[in-house]
Symmetry: C2
Subunit: 225 residues, 2 copies
């Protein structure tokens, strides 16, 4: 959590870190826009982001990709390998120049049987991920598009932002197209609400991305329920 | 998967079964409608359904519960215990007379360090769950309400149904209220589309629940994209 050093933990104790238990693997380089795996491939490996950002999409239909999530340094993706999916069903693309490591499911299993704390670490990572997915499902059920967009911005800022001196959170650039595929609406509607949030002082576009006034936006969510 | 013995597996090999590795625990009984845990409690234990069905809800606001999922025999729920959440954030209720077992996170950790295959089993269960959540997110992004309802019926039939001799899948009763909280719409809209599906021959209400013509409904989804 980079958005507040004094944040009260939602966990009773620190979580296990999977990286402590995994051997180094070869680093693979991907250019901006390069596909890391296709939806039709079998899921043979799990990946870890070393540097850069990765977008994972599912296609509802060929014209309508949905962003499942965006992963950055120290995030795993492609965990379908751990159940040996014969078809990924999702596509992973480098959002910028990106380095990843990968391990086959057999390699993970081998380490896990020797170092069971890796199992605990992966379990905790997956429980957090399920929790975040279920919160997004609730937002889809209950929120209008503006609120869904606000929650998405807060979540991305919380996961990938850096708190700055004036209390805002600096987030690397996301195109409105990408945000729309994450929120589940059109690019035009995202642009409309992003302009509104900007006019209302909840965000500011900066030289390299966006500054989000996260506390103010969270207050807006609370008070306009 | 109870909806087809000849179904082609989406997995390369059989998954690990967590129940093989867990010691028996005390069986707890819950009456229909009884709350198993509240949203405000700390997450101390993970649960396993022995008999019956459990509904897990999150509240977007007090009047709008969203059904995260419905669990039946051999399903785990309450996995927030594994990351020691200080607040559940979700509520679990018995949908009918239900028996569960539970283990504290310390107990799970203890077994897992001695029997690392339990770790692998829980990882695989959680990866499947994440996958299902991400498919629901895609459906929320891309589908209209009728299609979302159809996918929800197919998913519930796949997880909880019994294939009958005439090719339909028998599913225990779900109220339209419950379905609406799963699909993220109003009870009235669920009733409207359930009537339409019934008129079009995709489902039939029976003495104890519902018979779903799952293959026909899946075809409808494919052909009306």
């Amino acid at each position: 959590m980079s958005t507040g050093a004094t944040k009260i933990s939602i966990y009773e104790r620190p979580l296990e870190d999977p990286l402590v238990h995994l051997p180094r693997s070869t680093v693979l380089d991907f250019r901006k826009g390069q596909i890391i795996y296709h939806a039709d491939q079998p899921a043979s490996s799990i990946y870890l982001v070393i540097n850069g950002r990765v977008k994972v999409c599912r296609q509802a239909d060929p014209d309508l990709p949905v962003v499942v999530d965006i992963y950055r340094r120290d995030d795993f993706f492609g965990e379908g390998a751990l159940i040996g999916l014969t078809r990924r069903g999702e596509e992973a693309t480098a959002l910028e120049g990106t380095q990843v490591m990968s391990w086959t499911s057999a390699e993970i299993e081998d380490v896990l049987l020797r170092r069971p704390r890796l199992g605990l670490a992966l379990i905790q990572m997956l429980v957090q991920r399920s929790l975040e997915f279920s919160q997004r499902i609730v937002s889809f059920s209950a929120d209008n598009t503006a609120r869904r967009l606000a929650r998405s911005l807060l979540r991305l800022a919380d996961r990938m932002g850096e708190r700055t001196d004036d209390g805002s959170v600096h987030v690397l650039p996301f195109t409105h197209q990408l945000l729309s595929q994450y929120v589940g609406t059109s690019r035009e509607i995202v642009t409309h609400y992003m302009n509104q949030f900007r006019r209302d002082g909840y965000l500011r576009y900066s030289r390299k991305g966006m500054d989000l006034y996260a506390d103010a936006l969270a207050d807006w969510l609370r008070t306009t329920a």
